[in-house]
Amino acid sequence: MTAHDHPHAAVGEGDELPGYFEILEIALRELLIEKGLVSADALRRQIEILDSRSPALGSRVVARAWVDAAFKARLLADGSAACEELGVTMYDGTKLIVLENTPEVHNLVVCTLCSCYPRPVLGLPPDWYKSRAYRSRAVRWPRSVLAEFGTNLPDDVEVRVHDSTAAMRYLVLPMRPEGTDDLDEDALAGLVTRDAMIGVTRVATPG
């Protein structure tokens, strides 16, 4: 039916448990296609969309905000609308809220209930973001969580933790590092990491 139907290495090899869940995915997909509830074409397109999303999109948004004060103001006022200016579309009425890091305030994003994440600008979340440890501890012990990522903040920097929901996704606008006045927008985008946009790290000065 589709190119995805043939078995690959994970099927029937090694643990029986993962094999079963993969079979279940195939079974559900086939039944749902036969009932006309999803189409093979829509699934193929969605995989293309998933493949097209990466933190590079968020990096472009951040770099633009660093070089264009008017864009930054629009981004902080309405993250979803400002991202659309750069061709990044949110889905399903999801609101993107952009949080600005400053010398006084450091923002950190988590989803304690599941794995809500600003996928249109960052792609899919890393495994640690979905882990029990991160989801449990980030809201109560953010400084020790940050320290585990090598981020040690001075005591006088306020840490704000933002718990995402299906309808409200957060993106951190990191501080532009010192010594980057000569860099153009593309070079700046190259400095911005996924982890800095989740808020577990800061953007380091290059070199």
Binding site: P7, A10, G12, L17, F21, I26, L28
Partner: protein, 110 residues
């Protein structure tokens, strides 16, 4: 925090503020079936068959033992299967028969 009253107040997925081990900073490229599973749930949401909240409730309802043992997309696909049955979209017989048919097709012992 670990008393019986807390078990009643908190859903199995409601982890915020609980003590936990140090974070293992890990990631992996999605396996092909994991990506297909993600796409399937996205399209089910887009087509208003199963929405994000139903999916999350389905995962909650797996209970803490399965939540602790299964991988992320194993939870997703099992929750999707349960929610689709609960909503009358698919029957348990349909799913079981198709799972067997797929296993047969792939030459797997069952």
């Amino acid at each position: 925090m670990t008393g019986a009253d807390d078990l009643i107040r908190r859903g199995a997925n409601d982890l915020g503020g609980l003590p936990a081990e140090p974070i293992v900073i890990s990631d992996h490229e999605l396996l092909p079936w994991e990506k297909r599973c993600h796409a399937l749930l996205d399209v089910l949401a887009e087509n208003r068959v199963v929405n994000t909240e139903e999916k999350r409730r389905g995962i909650d309802d797996l209970g803490s033992e399965l939540l602790g043992k299964l991988t992320y997309y194993e939870k997703w696909v099992l929750a999707a299967s349960n929610v689709l049955m609960q909503k009358g979209v698919l029957t348990s017989d349909e799913i079981a028969q198709r799972v067997e048919a797929v296993q047969d097709r792939l030459g797997m012992a069952r």
